[in-house]
Symmetry: C2
Subunit: 251 residues, 2 copies
Amino acid sequence: MSEAHAPAHPAPTGPATAQVSPGDRTPPTAADECETLGLVAYGQLAAFTQLAGDSRHAEDFDTCLQLAHLASAALAGQGAVLDRVTALGGDAAAQLESFVGSFDNFVDRTAPSTWWEGLLKGYVGFGVAHDFLRVLAERLDGPSREAVDAALASFAPDALAAEQLAAAAAADEVLGSRLALWGRRLVGEALGFVNDLLSARPALGRVLVCEPVPTTADPAEAARPPMTTARLFSLLTAEHSRRMGRIGLTA
Amino acid sequence: MSEAHAPAHPAPTGPATAQVSPGDRTPPTAADECETLGLVAYGQLAAFTQLAGDSRHAEDFDTCLQLAHLASAALAGQGAVLDRVTALGGDAAAQLESFVGSFDNFVDRTAPSTWWEGLLKGYVGFGVAHDFLRVLAERLDGPSREAVDAALASFAPDALAAEQLAAAAAADEVLGSRLALWGRRLVGEALGFVNDLLSARPALGRVLVCEPVPTTADPAEAARPPMTTARLFSLLTAEHSRRMGRIGLTA
């Protein structure tokens, strides 16, 4: 997306931590749910744009083709997410457009200087985004959750990047060290981005602290403590460490 | 796609007209069929790349989103086309990659200088490509034809561009005249591109002159004269004129 689209909600750049009060056990309002769905749909478009650009600059034809298909897959199910906004009484197009520009700060602050840095950026960035959106989705009502789950499932770029990154890091120790360092920088920026988003969008914070809708009779799930910003960041960090471990890098 | 992918079959730049002998009533060989399918699949990737780039530079958010979805749709069914190459004993990846760079000459010679020129380039270029591929597809065997038809059907950017171009040309007479002129330039380059492709790829010419596989009991179809290069170009030109007429411009 062009820089020409002015951000409707510029992300805050200050160091303030988003304040979210836990324990709100009521389900999210339709408006809060719509805003969450708008974020998911916009994330799909941002992923498409990123992956399509990566495809154009891929070093070999096979990667170019795979990235093009990943880009296409990123948009699959976006229609269902936006339809759900409409069904909840929201303005789908306006909701989507309200997020324009809100990812720019993260994108600009993590400009990769090599192909490998770019690949790791996608791996880490999409990973954190997936985990965050999944936590939010668990708190939406049934049809919304299904629409988000389908959208997230159709788009998992991990497979491609993980394999290539693991092989590259294993073959070149210096590259591996550099990428481990870059990964720490990336996750810091990604968590900062999530924090900025929660600050700029109180609706997302309200969804976050809602009790998750139980999908199983698992007593462990029922016993989970309510979500807080701190607990969210610890969850995102733990998932990131596991993800880095899968490609042989220290988080 | 990056310029870094060297063309395996550089298109000829000379003025020679492709020589195709009509009247070969035998069905295409599997190898010729594979090459045709490779062209279709590569055209899908080229369309994806073009539309994704246009999406990034769209003037408004709605167009950006629509172009992103058109880009994604352009790749739909590519897997089925490539699977068909494999089923016919071909090397799908190699077949696809063999076309890398073969569209560059057309793309470079028709660099648009405005948004409207770019939109018309897509409208004219994709239109001619669709018509050409459909003529080839009619001469493939059943499963191949179905795979190509599905790929072409999932990707029809005309609707978006036609509406916008017609409105713009109607509202601004000077723009309309300029676009009509640009359209003539574009179709000339597109037909030259088809001619270059037929020269560089004898397999495509052999498919072209095969008797079409009848899909209906229509006696008019059975009575059609065999295809020649001249007849192909007259058909492509006539379709182009109709297409320009639909947006209110003289071809």
